[in-house]
């Protein structure tokens, strides 16, 4: 019987040696960045030629139970990058008073996120990141007044951390619904990552914005 004992001892040793489940995943914080876009795939993007963009990027923060919006210190960096990408798709920037085809919004958001568990079927990204084009109640919401900020998708965070996001939106100003007084959001781009360190943050932002527009070649149709 002692042979069986040694056999099981060997078995236990092998089990214990295999208990390290996950190797280190990331070399740098930027490796965790996500660039994500959604668009209304019923829209013919070839109909647009001009756009107007906000003067400042709103920095959305939390104060008590309320969201507050101030001008972001990254405004110039973000707006220049968005303008360069839209220009590369042949879209012309005009003043908001020139009746542009498109309105472009941009916000940054920084939040401390606590751990929340998430379970369910997975991998079918088309399901988890499904997005139905939604409408603003008024074209005047192009500014920040009354704008309710939210993510149209669900994430499961695996640990507590500080997350930073750049949210870009393109609104169809050419085809306003005059009856319901609504305009349609036709494109959303998001750059999301942890910002526990500010090292290389500008490069991460600009790379992420570039990735969002690279994902969206239909904007140049």
């Amino acid at each position: 019987m002692y042979k069986a004992f040694y056999f099981l001892l060997l078995f236990g040793s092998v089990i214990l040696s295999g208990c390290v489940k996950y190797p280190d995943q990331y070399d740098q914080e930027k490796d965790k960045d996500i660039s994500l876009t959604y668009y209304d795939n019923t829209t013919d993007f070839s109909q647009y030629a001009t756009y107007a963009i906000v003067d400042q990027v709103g920095d959305v923060g939390v104060e008590g139970d309320s969201l507050i919006v101030t001008a972001s210190v990254k405004s110039t960096l973000i707006l220049d990058k968005i303008n360069a990408n839209l220009a590369s798709y042949g879209l012309q920037k005009v003043d908001s008073s020139a009746n542009p085809d498109l309105l472009v919004n941009a916000h940054v958001l920084t939040l401390d996120v606590e751990y929340t568990s998430y379970n369910g079927g997975y991998w079918d990204m088309g399901y988890y990141y499904s997005y139905d084009p939604y409408y603003y109640g008024s074209p005047y919401y192009w500014g920040y007044g009354g704008y309710s900020y939210y993510y149209p998708y669900s994430y499961g965070y695996s640990y507590s951390s500080t997350y930073g996001s750049v949210l870009m939106e393109i609104i169809d100003s050419k085809n306003k619904n005059e009856i319901t007084n609504q305009i349609k959001m036709i494109w959303t781009g998001m750059v999301v990552g942890t910002v526990n360190s500010t090292t290389g943050i500008d490069e991460r932002i600009t790379n992420g914005i570039d990735e969002c527009f690279t994902q969206s070649p239909y904007l140049g149709n």
Partner: protein, 198 residues
């Protein structure tokens, strides 16, 4: 770990009665079929432990526990879906825990090398983990697995033999991108027995 201790203890107790065999193997695996879309890298991390008892001439039944880990790191890339796309690095994992009942047939052989055929089937706990950038998605489920296998036992002495085997493994799943986990396993192990199969 609780389960492993219980399994070990059970095997030890069962080994106290009748003609029996204990085996322990180090196993590797190659993903095949659509499962390769999820993980394509060869798995070098796996093990199996089992117990068999003779029920007839050259025929044994038993049970086994088999664990296999699959892992792949995919470089930063863009993945397109119906109405958008995501650019990120991607890490995919599968942890497969099979709890099998086994039926094994050993060819009557006068040499020290004994070929055999087996069929293993039973519940399997599958943990799939997908890490997209900082987003961590887990999915755990119980499935029924099936695994036919062939192998040879090479006698070292009356009590011990080396076990070489190859198996096909199938576990049904319901994901959009792959409907099953399928892989070919290859393993080497050691067998302890209290008699020589004749």
């Amino acid at each position: 770990m609780k389960y492993l201790i219980l399994i070990s203890a059970s095997l030890f107790c069962f080994a106290s009665f009748g003609q029996r065999m204990l085996h322990l193997s180090y196993s590797t695996a190659a993903p095949i079929g659509t499962y390769q879309d999820y993980v394509s890298e060869y798995s070098w991390q796996g093990l199996e432990v089992g117990y068999q008892k003779e029920i007839g001439k050259n025929l044994t039944v038993g049970f086994s526990y088999r664990w296999q880990k699959f892992y792949e790191k995919k470089d930063r890339a863009t993945y397109v879906f119906d109405n958008g796309a995501i650019t990120s690095s991607l890490y995919t994992y599968s942890f497969v825990n099979n709890f099998n009942a086994t039926l094994n047939y050993y060819l009557n052989n006068a040499t020290k090398i004994t070929p055999y055929f087996s069929i293993a089937a039973g519940p399997a706990f599958v943990k799939n983990r997908l890490v997209i950038g900082f987003v961590d998605l887990d999915d755990n489920s119980w499935k029924i697995g099936l695994s036919p296998q062939v192998g040879i036992m090479i006698d070292i002495n009356k009590s011990f033999a080396i076990d070489l085997k190859c198996n096909y493994n199938y576990l049904p799943l319901q994901y959009e991108r792959f409907k099953s986990i399928q892989y070919i396993g290859a393993s080497i192990g050691i067998v302890w027995r209290d008699y020589i199969l004749e």
